[in-house]
Symmetry: C2
Subunit: 212 residues, 2 copies
């Protein structure tokens, strides 16, 4: 397998954690977003959205969208499952993941930040407020849900799941943009527990081959 990614992409970061948790070998190929490599061939042939990550399977198929890739890995490589066995638990983990992957991350994506700067002429300060706002709103709901009884040492029970894989890169981004994380103690306790695991640590942006 080959993972086309970018060290700072948090969607790629989720997939990197999944690959490490499952102990899968995967060659990483950097797609430099700053050089707009994602908007040119050969990357557009891999993913017409021009986004990373894209996972090329040995069969030649190319998978896109981080959540879809992680569900694929979980189905094909069932070791270290990333979703619980019961349907209600699976729905909870997917919903937690989607709070981040649908309702925070896409609104704070680079292409959106570029749009509000170029089309609406917003200042750096307004851009930072925007970025922080969507994280704070999503994290507040996430924190409330972590009070539910199915939360354990991790977001769902005592093993990392798809929800933790989404949470950790989003906290990383929140820290980069100086979001005040003190209102989210449950969320941060889980983040810190994840960060003690080598599988999560080695997936961090600064440890990737294309990190600058």
């Amino acid at each position: 397998m080959q993972l086309f990614d970018y060290f700072r992409s948090s969607a790629s970061y989720r997939v990197r954690i999944a690959l490490r948790l499952k102990g899968l070998d995967c060659e990483q190929v950097g797609v430099n977003l700053l050089k707009s490599e994602h908007k040119a061939e050969p990357h557009l042939a891999r993913n017409p959205q021009g986004f990373v990550p894209a996972l090329a399977l040995d069969s030649g198929e190319i998978l896109t969208q981080s959540l879809a890739i992680i569900e694929y890995l979980d189905e094909v490589y069932p070791q270290t499952p990333l979703l619980p066995k019961d349907a209600v638990g699976r729905a909870r983990v997917r919903a937690l993941a989607q709070i981040i992957a649908c309702d925070i991350h896409p609104v704070d994506n680079l292409r959106v930040l570029k749009y509000i700067t170029s089309e609406f002429g917003v200042s750096e300060a307004q851009k930072t407020t925007w970025y922080q706002h969507w994280i704070e709103e999503g994290f507040a709901a996430f924190e409330t849900r972590l009070a539910e009884k199915s939360t354990g040492a991790f977001c769902h029970g005592d093993n990392p799941s798809l929800a933790d894989l989404c949470l950790v890169p989003q906290v990383f981004n929140a820290q980069r943009f100086n979001v005040d994380l003190s209102p989210f103690p449950r969320l941060m306790a889980i983040y810190q527990r994840c960060e003690m695991l080598d599988t999560f640590k080695l997936a961090r942006p600064e440890h990737q081959p294309d990190a600058i």
Copy 2:
């Protein structure tokens, strides 16, 4: 089961199609977004994000996030499956669904439109351009992917899947906001095929009990 929804919510619309395709009985309870009912109790107790849809199970559990709800329904009620049997096909259907559910819909969500109006002071024309822009960008990638050989009468093969459930409400929105859909002939052919089915038609906003 009880579905807390709003007739115009496209995330709710996806779930309504899934319930109809599976032939499931479900009471619909309108949460009036214009009256801000989603931001008050009792809805916040159902979903701290304040979003619709939320699906209350007979067991008392409440599920949130439309994609997580649909995957739950597909696991528990396997009739009329909404995902293909093979892992690569499942990854493709989920990725198509996520182009819409992650990369178009959340950026065009009401809360985001309100933010750019109140905080950035954008005009009605700028708001419409924003709305159309994210649909056009996402639909262009979606259209390209529909050239893949696994596309059939519907987005994946010859039966509706999770991808079609996301596509139809997004086209509905695109039409409301006067997006030029002529660049997307494959996507529109599938939309029209879906719209010939009663299951899709009856889930349309204007046919819901809370429609105004």
